[in-house]
C-alpha cells in the first residue's frame, strides 16, 4: 500500500477549476516532486493534501486513513507536516524555541521536547544558531528553520512548498544534501518546486501539472523529454535559476 | 399604527447620523487596520469648532462645513504625521498594530480633558435657523436638522464610494489597503496615503459634527457615547466597509427607536449588544464585510 494515495482530486474556486481530477501516489521512503508552470495548480493540490484547502471532489488517503477535508493540525498529528513557501517563523523567539514548538507534537514535557529539537537542529546544521531570535536569521537559515520545525514533529511524510524559492544557486546547492539527509532518516517527502534543477536532482518520481491537470508522471529525466511537458513550459519564462 | 411609522422613520433618521459618525472610523480601519479610539474625541473637537463658528458668526449652520471639514482634515493629517506615524513605523510589519490603538486612546484622554480645562464642564447648545424646526407629515413630526443630516450622510457615502472607486488618489488608497508592500513597490508613498486617510477619517467626523451641532449639545465628553456606538456599527456593517457603516447605523437606529416602543429604553441598549454578538456568531465579517477582512 502506498503511503499517500491521491485519487481524483478536484478543487474549484467559484467557476475556476484549479485542480482537475488528479491522481498521485507516494511510496514509503520516496521523494516525489510536483512541477509545473506558474499558476498550474500545484500549490492548490499541495494545500489540499496539507489540509489548508478542502478538495471539492476526490479522496486523499494517508496510511489508509482518509485525510481530505481534515484540518492541518489533525493531519499533522497523523504524521504529515508541511512547510510554507513564504517562511513563517515565530520571529521574536529563538531558533530552539521555534523548533521546540514542533517537537511538542509528540510529547507534553519541555525537557523531552527541547532534547528532540536539539537533535533535529544538529541534523539540519542549525545547532550553532539555537539561541538566535528567528528574525535575525538569513533567508537560507530561515528556510532551514522551517524544515527543522516541521521535522521536529516527527512526520512520516513531509510536504515542502518551494523550500528553495528565493535562494541563490550556491544556497540551493547547500540545501539539497539537507533534504537528502532528512529523507535518509526515514521521512518521505513531497516537494513542490519551481526550480527544475533541484527537482531533477532529488526526486525519484515527478508529477507535472498544467491547468490543474496532470499531464505527465514518472522518472524525472524521462518526463522532461515528453512533448507535452516541453509545450507547457515553452514560452514560459522558465530558466533553471531565475533568481 | 402611526406612532410606529413615526418611530421607524425617526429611527432611520437618527440611525443614518450614527452611521455618519462611524464612517471615518471604518475608513481609517479599512486602510490602516487601526481602530482609532480617539474617534469620539475628534468628533467632539469638530463639534466645538462648529459650535463656536455658528455662535460667533450666526450664519446658516451648514456653512460651518466649509470651515470645520478642512480644519479637521488638517488636524487628522498632522496628528497622523506627528504622533501616530512614528509608532506605526516601528510596528509596520504587524498586520494589526496594537500599540497604535493604545496611542489613540492616549490621544482621547488628552483631547477630552484638554477640552474640559479650556471650555469647562458646561453644556452648550447652538441656536441655529434649523434648531427646533419640525417637518410635519400626517400628524407625524420629524426634526428638519435630522432630515438634512440624513441627506448629507447619503451624499458623503456616495462621494466616498466614487472617490475610492474612480479617483486616482482613491485607487492608491485602495491599493495600500489591500497590500502595503505591493503598493509601496508600485511607487505609492505609503506614509502620505496614511496621512491623507487619517485626515479624511477626521474630516468625516467634521461632517458628522456639523450635522449634530444644530440639534445636539456640546460637551467635553460628548464623543464617548458616539464612540461605543460607532464601534458596534462598524463591526456590524463590516470593518472597512463604508456602505456597511451607514447601513449598520440605520439598523442600530431602528432597533433603538422601534425596540423602545415595546420595552424599556434600557433594554433596547441590551438588545443592540445582543444583536451585535449574534451577528458575530453567524457572520463574523459583519453584514457587508468581505470574508478576507477578519
Amino acid at each position: 500500500m502506498a503511503l499517500l494515495e491521491v485519487k481524483g482530486v478536484t478543487k474549484q474556486f467559484g467557476g475556476l477549476t484549479a485542480v482537475n481530477n488528479v491522481d498521485m501516489e507516494v511510496q514509503e521512503g520516496q521523494i516525489v516532486g510536483i512541477i509545473g508552470p506558474n499558476g498550474a495548480g500545484k500549490t492548490t493540490l499541495f494545500s489540499c493534501i496539507a489540509g489548508s484547502h478542502v478538495p471539492t471532489k476526490g479522496s486523499i488517503k494517508f496510511n489508509g486513513t482518509e485525510i481530505a477535508g481534515k484540518r492541518p493540525y489533525d493531519i499533522c498529528k497523523l504524521g504529515v507536516t508541511r512547510t510554507f513557501q513564504v517562511v513563517k517563523p515565530f520571529a521574536n523567539k529563538t531558533v530552539l524555541y521555534n523548533t521546540t514548538v514542533g517537537a511538542f507534537a509528540k510529547t507534553n514535557r519541555l525537557d523531552v521536547a527541547e532534547e528532540k529539537a536539539m537533535e533535529v537542529l544538529k541534523l539540519i546544521d542549525l545547532y550553532d544558531k539555537k539561541d538566535v531570535p528567528a528574525k535575525n536569521l538569513t533567508l537560507p537559515e530561515r528556510k532551514r528553520l522551517e524544515l527543522a520545525r516541521a521535522l521536529a514533529t516527527e512526520p512520516k511524510l513531509l510536504l515542502l512548498d518551494e523550500v528553495m524559492a528565493g535562494l541563490r544557486p550556491s544556497e540551493v546547492a547547500e540545501m539539497l544534501p539537507v533534504i537528502r539527509k532528512i529523507n535518509s532518516v526515514g521521512v518521505s517527502i513531497v516537494i513542490v518546486e519551481h526550480i527544475m534543477q533541484a527537482i531533477m536532482n532529488l526526486s525519484e518520481q515527478v508529477y507535472v501539472i498544467n491547468f490543474g491537470k496532470k499531464i505527465a508522471e514518472g522518472d524525472p529525466h524521462k518526463v522532461v523529454a515528453e512533448e507535452e511537458v516541453i509545450k507547457a513550459y515553452l514560452g514560459d519564462e522558465y530558466v533553471a535559476n531565475s533568481h | 399604527m402611526i406612532g410606529y411609522i413615526e418611530s421607524v422613520i425617526n429611527g432611520i433618521l437618527m440611525g443614518s447620523i450614527y452611521g455618519l459618525t462611524a464612517v471615518g472610523l471604518t475608513l481609517i480601519f479599512g486602510v490602516m487596520k487601526v481602530v482609532n479610539f480617539a474617534h469620539g474625541s475628534i468628533l467632539m473637537v469638530g463639534m466645538f469648532a462648529a459650535y463656536w463658528f455658528i455662535t460667533l458668526t450666526g450664519v446658516n449652520p451648514y456653512l460651518a462645513l466649509v470651515v470645520v471639514v478642512p480644519l479637521l482634515y488638517f488636524f487628522g493629517y498632522y496628528m497622523q504625521k506627528i504622533v501616530i506615524k512614528p509608532i506605526f513605523e516601528a510596528e509596520k510589519h504587524v498586520r494589526e498594530p496594537i500599540t497604535v490603538i493604545i496611542v489613540t486612546t492616549g490621544i482621547w484622554y488628552v483631547l477630552d480633558n484638554l477640552a474640559l480645562l479650556v471650555f469647562g464642564a458646561e453644556f452648550r447648545v447652538a441656536q441655529t435657523s434649523v434648531t427646533g424646526k419640525m417637518v410635519e407629515v400626517a400628524e407625524m413630526y420629524f426634526p428638519l436638522a435630522k432630515i438634512i443630516g440624513t441627506g448629507i450622510t447619503l451624499l458623503l457615502g456616495v462621494y466616498l464610494y466614487w472617490f475610492l472607486k474612480h479617483s486616482r488618489m482613491g485607487k492608491a488608497v485602495r491599493a495600500t489597503s489591500l497590500d502595503r508592500e505591493a503598493a509601496t513597490l508600485m511607487g505609492i508613498k505609503q506614509s502620505r496615503i496614511y496621512n491623507i486617510v487619517f485626515g479624511m477619517g477626521c474630516a468625516c467626523c467634521g461632517v458628522a459634527a456639523c450635522v449634530l451641532v444644530p440639534f445636539y449639545y456640546v460637551y467635553p465628553t460628548v464623543g464617548v457615547p458616539f464612540d461605543i456606538k460607532a464601534f458596534v456599527i462598524v463591526v456590524l456593517g463590516g470593518l472597512g466597509s463604508i456602505p456597511g457603516a451607514i447601513l449598520g447605523g440605520v439598523i442600530i437606529g431602528i432597533i433603538e427607536t422601534v425596540g423602545a416602543q415595546f420595552m424599556a429604553a434600557t433594554w433596547t441598549e441590551m438588545l443592540i449588544y445582543a444583536f451585535f454578538l449574534v451577528v458575530l456568531f453567524v457572520k463574523p465579517s459583519g453584514l457587508f464585510g468581505l470574508r478576507q477582512d477578519y
Binding site: - | 458646561e122 441656536q127 427646533g132 449639545y217
Partner: protein, 412 residues
C-alpha cells in the same frame, strides 16, 4: 532611565505631604472635603468647593475658632471623580494621613455611601451637605450627619405640590408618567413615586427608565407622547435633561405639567442650553436665589463677584456646612472626635449664615438627619430680557410675591 526621573519627584511629593501634616499642629483645624472635581458631575463639585472656600475665608478673617484660641480652619480637597473606590481611598487618606477633624462631602450618593462607612469605622464625624439617598442616614451610624433632605422627602414634596396645585387651580390630574435615568438616583426616585402614586390614586401610564449615556432620547419621548399623561415626573442628569426637554418640545408633547427632580434640571448650564423649551417646567430644589432670606442678597453678590455665577443649592448647602463646622468646634472646644460627635448631635443652629438655607435651622435627629430640611418648587419662566428664570412657587408661604403660577401649562 525615565523611571528615575519619575520616582524622584514622586517620593518628594509623598514626603512633602507627610511633613505637612507634622507641622500643622495646634492653630489649624483641618477639614477634609471629598467632591467630584472631574468627571461627569464636575460642575457641581466645583460649586461646592468654591462655596466652602468663601465661607472658610470669612470665618478665618473673623478670627477663626475662638474656643480654640482663634484656630484657623484649613480646607483640604480631594477629587472623587464620582467614583466610590476613589472616595473611599480619599476618605481614608484624609483621616489617617492628613488627620483631619471632620470630613465633608461627597455629593454623589454612590460615593458618600461607602465613604461614610469608612468614617464610621474610624469614628471621625462626616458631615454630608447634600447626597440624597435615604439609606445614608439609615444604617445606625453614629458619625454621619446630613444637612439636606433625603430621597423620600424630595418625592414626598413633589406629590404634595401636585395635590396642592390641583386644589388651587381646580384641575384634576389622573394619569402620571415617570421618566428617569437608570442610575441609582433615578431608580431610587421611581420606587418612591410608584408608592406615592398608588396612595394618591393616580394611574401610572408610563414607567420608563433610560440609560443616562443614551445618545438619542427620541424613542423615549415618542413613547411618552403615546402614553398621553397629564403629568410627567422626571429625574435626569444634565445631558439627558437637555435632550429630553428639547425633544419633548420638538415632538409637541403636551402635558399639564412637568415635574423634575433637580440634578440636571437645576444645572446652571441647563437653562442656557434649552432656552424657551423649558418654559413652565416645575423643578424641585433645596434652595433658590429668589428666596426671601436675611443676608442672602449680600452673600450672593459677593459669591457672584468671586466666581461669576449665582449661588446654587449645592453652593448654599456647602456654605452652610462650613458655618455648622465652626459652630460645632466652638461648642466642642476641642478637636477630639468624641467631643465633636456629641456637639454635632446636639446642634441647634438657626438664623445667622445658616439662615440662607430655605429651612433656616439645623437640628439633627437620632439618625443624623437634619429634621428641618425641606424643599421648594420653582417654575421656569422666560423673563423680560428673554433669559430663563427660576421662580419659587411652592410652598405657598415662600412663593415670590406677585407671581401667578401657570398650571396647567398651555399647549405648545
Amino acid at each position: 532611565m525615565n523611571l528615575k526621573k519619575f520616582i524622584v519627584p514622586a517620593v518628594v511629593l509623598a514626603m512633602g505631604t507627610a511633613s505637612f501634616s507634622a507641622y500643622a499642629a495646634e492653630k489649624v483645624v483641618k477639614i477634609g472635603n471629598i467632591l467630584p472635581l472631574s468627571g461627569p458631575s464636575a460642575s457641581v463639585g466645583i460649586q461646592g468647593k468654591q462655596a466652602r472656600e468663601m465661607a472658610v475665608d470669612e470665618i478665618n478673617k473673623a478670627g477663626g475658632i475662638k474656643a480654640l484660641g482663634g484656630a484657623k480652619l484649613k480646607l483640604l480637597f480631594a477629587d472623587s471623580k464620582g467614583d466610590p473606590t476613589t472616595g473611599v481611598t480619599e476618605t481614608e487618606r484624609f483621616i489617617s494621613t492628613e488627620k483631619v477633624s471632620i470630613v465633608t462631602g461627597a455629593w454623589n450618593s454612590s460615593v458618600t455611601y461607602p465613604s461614610t462607612q469608612v468614617a464610621e469605622r474610624y469614628g471621625v464625624p462626616f458631615v454630608v451637605p447634600v447626597s440624597v439617598r435615604d439609606t445614608i442616614t439609615e444604617r445606625g451610624f453614629k458619625n454621619v450627619f446630613r444637612i439636606a433632605a433625603k430621597d423620600s422627602w424630595w418625592t414626598r414634596d413633589q406629590f404634595r405640590f401636585l395635590s396642592d396645585m390641583q386644589k388651587e387651580f381646580k384641575t384634576p390630574i389622573k394619569k402620571v408618567a415617570f421618566v428617569y435615568e437608570n442610575g441609582d438616583w433615578g431608580t431610587g426616585f421611581a420606587e418612591k413615586w410608584r408608592e406615592l402614586a398608588k396612595a394618591a390614586g393616580y394611574q401610572v401610564v408610563l414607567d420608563e427608565p433610560y440609560p443616562s449615556t443614551a445618545s438619542d432620547l427620541t424613542p423615549v419621548v415618542l413613547k411618552l407622547k403615546r402614553s398621553n399623561p397629564d403629568v410627567v415626573f422626571m429625574t435626569s442628569n444634565a445631558a439627558d435633561a437637555i435632550l429630553l426637554t428639547k425633544t419633548m418640545t420638538d415632538l409637541k408633547v403636551n402635558v399639564k405639567a412637568i415635574v423634575t427632580s433637580g440634578g440636571g434640571h437645576a444645572d446652571p448650564s441647563y437653562l442656557a442650553a434649552v432656552g424657551k423649551s423649558a418654559e413652565y417646567l416645575f423643578d424641585i430644589v433645596e434652595w433658590e436665589t429668589d428666596l426671601n432670606r436675611p443676608g442672602l442678597k449680600e452673600t450672593n453678590e459677593k459669591f457672584k463677584k468671586l466666581y461669576g455665577y449665582n449661588l446654587t443649592g449645592e453652593a448654599v448647602d456647602a456654605y452652610a456646612s462650613m458655618y455648622l463646622v465652626k459652630d460645632v468646634l466652638e461648642r466642642a472646644k476641642s478637636t477630639d472626635p468624641n467631643a465633636l460627635r456629641a456637639a454635632l448631635a446636639s446642634t441647634n443652629l438657626c438664623g445667622g449664615k445658616t439662615g440662607l438655607l430655605a429651612y433656616n435651622c439645623i437640628q439633627f435627629d437620632q439618625t443624623g438627619q437634619n429634621r428641618n430640611a425641606s424643599l421648594v418648587i420653582v417654575q421656569v419662566r422666560s423673563g423680560k430680557d428673554g433669559k430663563m428664570e427660576r421662580i419659587t412657587v411652592w410652598p405657598k408661604n415662600v412663593r415670590r410675591a406677585g407671581y401667578k403660577v401657570v398650571f396647567p401649562q398651555p399647549n405648545k
